[in-house]
Amino acid sequence: MKKIILFGLAVLALVSSCTTPVTLGKQYPAMYEEKPLTIVIMPPINRTTHAEAKDYFYTTMYLPLCEKGYYVYSPYLTMEMFQQESAYDAEQFIEGDLTIFKNVLGADAAMFTIIKDWRRNNMGGVLTVDVEYILRSTKTGQTLYTREGLIKVDTSVNGGGGAIGALVGIIATAVNTAATDKVVAGRKCNAFVLSDLPAGKYSNMYDKDSSNPAGKKFVKATVK
């Protein structure tokens, strides 16, 4: 009897391991090799016609990245620096050398974002944002993490986002601005896309999440 159960369990384990999705360690190996501690948020690259998207989205990444366990330079302070140094256009850095951020700030990695869509459909009360995130090492220049989110927020009904992960929950509670504001969709997009980012030094999941399943590289969701 025991043998049969054990055999059954072994088979089950094998089968379930075959269907296990890719792990974070496999999807983002460079994150575990380099173990960045400090992140500078780059001014978003805005590919939409909505000029305000850049400024408003810029600061929204700070809180979720801190909650992931990283040291994040205050975007309000770095924004001033970028503007003073006429470096407020991140396009010039996205494929270029990043050692300057290592030297000036001490940053291990730079978070780039490309805003591809940022709009509000007044008829249905739907906010749509599409943002690609690219975290690059300032040391080696390699891409450590990249993911894209296409998030629609249905503002016609007020309410929480349901059970969509702990981080989403944390951020959702922080989201209590007027529901009509497009920045809300930007914040939700962060929650979805950054949920897969391996944890940083200040998180108790640090170096313990490499075997966690990784989500898809392109996240598409509609939330209320």
Partner: protein, 114 residues
């Protein structure tokens, strides 16, 4: 047989309590800074300073410390609004809490004192 059951229950119990407590308390930080960013009125500045005070003194998150960057933000605003001594105190606090910020913060202090 019993042992297997117990093992299965333990595994289930562990996987189900995989929830994370926020590392920090943020209060209304996002909204207040966002509003101030949109329109830097005196009223909102007072609100923001009040918010920073709360954030730097009442941390109930998992880590129980001020989040990265916040002491420096508070210090910078204090300095800019004329409270130079106090501002510098918070900027230095950032470095003692997060030594990795030393390079950047000393650059800010240098620029402010120019």
């Amino acid at each position: 047989m019993k042992k297997i059951f117990i093992a299965a229950i333990i595994v289930l119990a562990f996987t189900s309590c995989d929830t994370t407590k926020p590392l920090y308390s943020w209060y209304n930080y996002e909204d207040v800074t966002y509003q101030y960013n949109k329109k830097a009125t005196e009223d909102l500045q007072a609100k923001l300073l009040e918010q920073y005070k709360k954030l730097t003194t009442k941390q109930k998150g998992g880590r129980g410390v001020v989040p990265p960057g916040l002491n420096s933000e508070y210090g910078f605003l204090l300095y800019k609004t004329g409270k130079k001594e106090e501002g510098l105190k918070y900027l230095k606090q950032e470095v003692s809490l997060y030594p990795e910020s030393e390079k950047y913060i000393s650059r800010i202090i240098k620029q402010l004192e120019k």
